[in-house]
């Protein structure tokens, strides 16, 4: 513990913290507060996110179609239809995810 180098007073510490924060903000440019305390989104993380988004939507579409088929007795047709709807939903999700990222931080989210 750095008990020995305790500041003389809390006001002094407060001043130093404010100064350090200002310096830090200046150094990191005008990235704003949004990037603060946020772990970097790695390329792999982004890829995983988009991949699961697509696959999950198709799976949900197929499951919903299959369930409706069982219920209504229209064996393959609703499943086929919902496969395409699910794919569309997946693309919509991917579009929203990436659009959100582009808006979040100007760095392009790589």
């Amino acid at each position: 513990m750095a008990e020995e180098q305790k500041p003389t007073s809390l006001e002094d510490l407060d001043a130093r913290v404010t100064a350090a924060r200002a310096a830090n903000k200046q150094r990191s440019g005008n990235s704003g507060t949004a990037a603060e305390g946020k772990p970097p989104m790695t390329g792999l993380g982004l890829a995983m996110r988009i991949g699961t988004e697509l696959v999950a939507a198709i799976a949900v579409g197929l499951a919903v179609g299959y369930g409706l088929d069982l219920w209504l007795g229209t064996k393959p047709w609703l499943m086929v239809a919902f496969f395409f709807l699910g794919s569309a939903a997946g693309m919509l999700n991917v579009y929203r995810t990436t659009a959100h990222m582009g808006r979040d931080d100007g760095s392009g989210g790589t």
């Binding site: 305790k6 996110r49 696959v55 699910g86 919509l92």
Partner: protein, 246 residues
Amino acid sequence: MGDGVAGPLEQFEIKPLVKIQLGSLDISYTNSALWMTIAVAVVTLFLVMGTRQRALVPGRWQSMAEMSYEFVANMLSEQVGSAGKAFFPFVFTLFMFILVGNLLGMVPYSFTFTSHIIVTFGLAFVVFLGVTILGFVKHGFHFLSFFVPKGVPAVMLLLMVPIEILSYLTRPISLSIRLFANMMAGHTMLKVFAGFVIGLGVIGGWAPLALNVVLTGFEILVAFLQAYVFAVLTCIYINDAVHMSH
């Protein structure tokens, strides 16, 4: 696999520790449940010990507890705005539980309960259900207009509304698959390379060992990242339900 070397998937095996049978239901206390209990205990201990001193100038533990608090609080206010404060306890609990669960999985001989899809799906479904109920409570049946995109001709709505509903239903699936797949893939990979170390022996085993060291570091990053992603998506969903905007 050679003799004595555990298969890469053996680590995910659920072992009942205390057998409990309730009618036809098997509600045994398993190793998964044990590690969940440990995770809750660790989080509680971490926060209680961290906030015990209540120093104006925080020590290390208090600093870490405050950092986790601020991290989640910032995330909420960023994504949801001032209306998000009410959901802080929920998101914070979720974040800490997943984070500690992921990190406990990095302890040798431990069990990673977040690598089971039923666990992550349970968590994701609680989020999904809660957010849906929240939307209906906040907006009544007006919440259904969430599924009707604006500025779309009436003919296209026939196609767009099912797509929007499917997209909404996808949320718990993609949320749970993302966490589970990341944890399971990472831990399987670690075990596979650990198996190579034994298989290649003293001469060739150093290369996979070095890779395993790198992968371990990477897995710790993934543990943080996935807990963050889960929490931030929860925030986004809460924001959708509160403000009804995509």
